[in-house]
Symmetry: C2
Subunit: 349 residues, 2 copies
């Protein structure tokens, strides 16, 4: 036990009180203290004594030392594509809250949408001996993920699936998210519906486009590929692509924009043009409820269950960390919510 006397403030700071100290104070052995801490059998009267000693000394278990014995670090790694995307960080926020409650700390890494960085950071997490990992994968590098799983480190995938990886996953039903949104537009009589998609190589973007295509099939409508715009999930591309759409010879009467940043850009573009929502174009955006409420008219929007994603992922990981390997691998597909507001209108026939 180190005692540090801060004379200038007359305050005593005690650091690193160990079980040894508690044992001495309680007049018992270290082994008994350890048992008490870990819920073993200790005489009732001794429990009181130990409890008192712990409180008085301000003892706290040294997790590092414990980790050395137990091979647990009480740490989980969280790996996301970017820390500069509010959708990702919101999910992190929820995961972190839940895990911290259970005593886990989280090492958060972002790989800046870079596949080689993704691998590096994953290696880093493994080296730091995290007990588990939650990741939004980008590369299709199931090799790496599998090597992590092979080390008996539970991994939970979120947002993006990886074909060929046997691994728990929490996904969003992106396909039906866009299916339902576009279907509403079709029901309202729209025949030419534009979509601003994300990059081809991103799982969620593929699925959202697929939903758009399938609903067209189901309603026996052919897709005009000129109405399908591929963006990069950034503000600027939403802005640019929306302008492209409305400047077409035969512009769409409705449009679905498939993430927050692009929705933002698209709204900016519309605001600056002379076309009006919903008179000239019906509009459905994605992801950010706060934004949708502020815009006039209120924006119709597809909401992803951000909170739920975090909860499910965190609890799934906690389950594995508890050693519960039942129904592995389990894949949860969460539903989005479609909020329809005045930004969409019926098309007269």
């Amino acid at each position: 036990m180190n005692i540090e006397l801060n004379v200038s403030r007359m305050k005593v700071i005690i650091i690193s009180v160990t079980m040894k100290d508690v044992a001495r104070k309680a007049g018992l052995s270290i082994a008994t203290i350890s048992k008490y801490i870990n819920g073993g059998n200790v005489l009732k009267e001794n429990r009181v004594i130990i409890d008192k000693a712990i409180k008085e000394l301000g003892f706290e278990v040294n997790e590092i030392a414990r980790g050395l014995k137990t091979n647990k670090t009480m740490t989980v790694g969280l790996l996301i594509p970017s820390l500069e995307n509010i959708f990702f960080t919101s999910i992190l926020s929820n995961i972190e809250s839940i895990l911290i409650d259970k005593g886990y700390s989280t090492i958060i890494c972002d790989y800046k949408e870079d596949k080689s960085l993704e691998k590096q950071k994953l290696d880093f997490l493994v080296k730091k001996m995290v007990d588990g990992i939650v990741t939004m994968p980008m590369g299709c590098d199931l090799e790496i993920i599998n090597s992590v799983i092979g080390r008996n480190i539970p991994v939970v995938l979120i947002d993006r699936a990886l074909k060929g990886v046997d691994c728990d996953a929490v996904l969003v039903d992106n396909l039906n998210a866009s299916y339902n949104a576009v279907e509403q537009l079709i029901i309202l009589g729209h025949k030419r519906i534009g979509i601003i998609c994300g990059p081809d190589d991103i799982y969620t973007a593929q699925e959202r486009l697929r939903g758009y295509e399938r609903v067209h099939e189901d309603y026996a409508m052919t897709v005009d590929h000129k109405l399908v715009k591929k963006g990069d999930y950034q503000i600027e591309s939403g802005y640019r692509l929306l302008l492209e759409l409305i400047k077409m010879k035969e512009p769409p009467t409705a449009v679905l924009v498939t993430n927050y940043e692009m929705t933002l850009g698209a709204i900016m573009a519309i605001n600056e043009s002379d076309i009006k929502i919903p008179d000239d174009i019906s509009f459905i955006g994605f992801d950010n409820l706060q934004l949708a409420k502020v815009v006039k008219p209120p924006l119709s929007i597809v909401i992803q269950p951000v909170k739920q994603i975090g909860e499910v992922a965190a609890n799934m990981l906690l389950k594995r960390l508890r050693g519960d390997g039942s129904s592995f691998p389990s894949m949860v597909r969460l539903k989005t919510e479609l909020i329809l507001k005045d930004s969409v209108r019926k098309i007269g026939d």
Copy 2:
């Protein structure tokens, strides 16, 4: 050394190779291996042997075990008000990149703008025995910060200062940020300049308002307090307060909005009204260059040195972690950049 044979894939996975294993393979003692790892004196020929053994076994130092001896965890705590604010997370992203390069992992916590959570998370970080902490404090609770510093854990404050805390800090010159922005508007002939501020109890908001006031003093202009709107740094308040400003009997001819979210809301409000930038109102926003470029006309904007804040903070902490206590406490005040675009115009006299 545990060897695990994954028969189904015929792949051998070796986990936890220890120095002991390396020592055995190299025919030397553990102490020698340790010396080699830590740069001690080892015979050149033995260096080769050890190096070979390490490579073949894929040995990596167990940082946990090392930490037990050295009292270092090679982990730093990053504590921010919210993970759902891109300004904060961008800074994190930069700090994380730098620290990870030096072998440090980061435990990122957010306190959801809640003072009691802030204290809890700080305690949590201390309990996790982080080697250092970077935090954006909210509470004026210098008591807590001081207790951390008292434990010899270096702390670097960012974005927000804490009066009475002797502590390294990386700040932004918020006062002159708004001073310069408003000054430009004054130079262009504006007499009635509105400002949309953040909450009174947030350091940056106080400073930005102070800059607005001081430039008025310096130009011998009286502040019309009806032009000073207090928001909460969220989209909605930017939207609402801008509407309040333009609906005044005597509306301002120019406005400064003092963070990203409120800038976004304000732009939305303007777009939906019938007033035009810059003809009816000159506009200067804050923080997000990407947004500013997309809007038409391009937005004048105050840019905070996000990247630099992260760099300076990370390097300052690394310096302390190296044990370099020189010029403590050091406070760095970084300058913002004012980018003037077509969203501001000259007022004819």
